[in-house]
Subunit: 302 residues, 2 copies
């Protein structure tokens, strides 16, 4: 069961870090950028950069999150690089989260679910378009936009993370509105997530249907941890967005489990601040992040 395997790795490495491969071309060192003119050039360089990051960190972090926007922006060539980095990271043993925030009506959601978590058939020949362990989704359309993803989770041992309380400054504009029953929208969405996960709860008590809960909103995170006992969190916002270890502590239970913490720019661009090669600097940033997180969370899986 996918969330069990992710947690097994977190416990083994004592590290709940997710490296966000949200790699802007501008993040690359000058020598890697030099001479690139086309989307194919840019995509090739970004892919090379990301592969070296993966090589450098895959023995000390359990997972990567690959933000599709940073590949799609280079058109078809970017999507080719996206497919390749998903497969490369999986080949290195990492749990791979496709950050695509997909959402649509049931028939269309079914296509998306197969694209990331399953297979598409062409006259009986089946292939995996953009193979991932998890994909992020947006629940604004309600259950029939999510059910096709849950179906693929059950069928192929995959997972999803549903947006509940996002890390961005204006996330409260809609998500913190209070309903007539006195509860905020993010809590209602969390309740749906808990329900959508009922069929896939694993040995640690967490389901394959997780929630995105930003490190930048500790009050909301604490409340969500309390009311969503079976929901594993994908926690963005650590580092460049302003979240720190103390702020996200409440996402974790007394057993040191409960979520995986994403960091993108703080790892990818560590070399710009600390010097050295980008891949060595990325590894050092992961080591530092592990120390920072475990100092607050304590032993994971105790």
């Amino acid at each position: 069961m996918i969330t069990d395997r992710l947690i097994d790795k977190i416990i083994e490495m004592q590290n709940p870090t997710c490296v966000g491969l949200d790699t802007l071309f501008d993040y690359l060192p000058d020598d890697m950028k030099a001479g690139a003119k086309t989307f194919a050039d840019a995509a090739e360089r970004v892919l090379e950069f990301n592969k070296k990051i993966v090589d450098s960190v895959c023995d000390i972090v359990p997972s990567v999150k690959v933000q599709i926007a940073y590949y799609e922006m280079y058109g078809v060539a970017g999507m080719q690089a996206y497919e390749e980095i998903l497969k490369y990271a999986a080949g290195k043993g990492l749990v791979v989260i496709a950050d695509a925030k997909r959402n649509d009506i049931g028939s269309t959601a079914s296509c998306y679910a197969k694209t990331f978590l399953g297979e598409t058939e062409v006259n009986g020949n089946a292939y995996k378009p953009f193979p991932s362990d998890y994909v992020t989704v947006n629940g604004y359309l309600g259950t029939d936009g999510i059910a096709p993803f849950v179906e693929q989770c059950e069928k192929n041992d995959k997972g999803i993370f549903v947006l509940v309380k996002t890390s961005n400054p204006s996330s409260g504009e809609l998500q913190n509105l209070v309903l007539e029953n006195g509860k905020p929208i993010y809590e209602y969405m969390g309740g749906l997530v808990e329900k959508w996960g009922e069929s896939t709860v694993g040995k640690y008590g967490y389901s394959a249907v997780g929630a995105v809960v930003g490190a930048t909103h500790p009050t909301e995170a604490a409340r969500l941890r309390e009311v969503l006992p079976h929901t594993f969190f994908l926690i963005p916002g650590y580092g460049a967005q302003g979240g720190n270890a103390e702020m996200l502590k409440s996402c974790f239970g007394a057993n040191g489990l409960g979520g995986v913490v994403n960091n993108s720019r703080g790892i990818l661009c560590a070399y710009k601040k600390n010097g050295g090669t980008y891949y060595d600097a990325a590894r050092e940033a992961c080591v530092a992040m592990q120390k920072d997180l475990s100092s607050v969370i304590g032993k994971m899986g105790n």
Copy 2:
């Protein structure tokens, strides 16, 4: 201004129809499906099918909506077909809506906005990844996830449609929840849309920031039409999803304007019901839809 141009075409053709190119491989006639084995085969056949549909209807409908899920499901080859059909439809004079329902934090939303509505630069060389006139977006993250799209709308004369009240059966699960001020969430989201559009109102009084409002929910649509005077609607749900002309009448004002009505399966698969070639049947379905809509809406732009 893009919404003005869309409305100009609607008035000229007396037709507020949007043809949804949500083409599943299974929609194709058997002879077009025969022998296809790979994603490249499937994408090529779907592209050929869609081009003939575009050729057959481009003089009688103002716009197409191209649902990205139905291309991404064939991987990189599918994305190549997506790029090509967007450009082909634009070349035939159609207003092109990329139905991608993108949503993310500001920095990432900025990448998405450039992908569909602007340009990506590689060392000073700029290209358009998936060029569209409009892209659909999801507002769950609030203003800072939408602002980068509005910025591209202003800069490049483009538009967006924000999910407000979607056409699917479970859309009410979240969207119809009532806030403590007594208003439903969809109406609050509509209010945000009206505000996001303030800077781009055109000669007909509608802005470049439109709303997705399902034909399947006439009560909500009527309320939204009343409270969102400057918001143009993209109206899905007509036909296969159960919406009909009478149900979506309230999306239109006394001047016969206010939205564009999408139909996908009812046009793409008309040949399965009515016989003839798929492209002739699609044209006939568009003619019938024009008659059906105008019988209820009346003269557009009166």
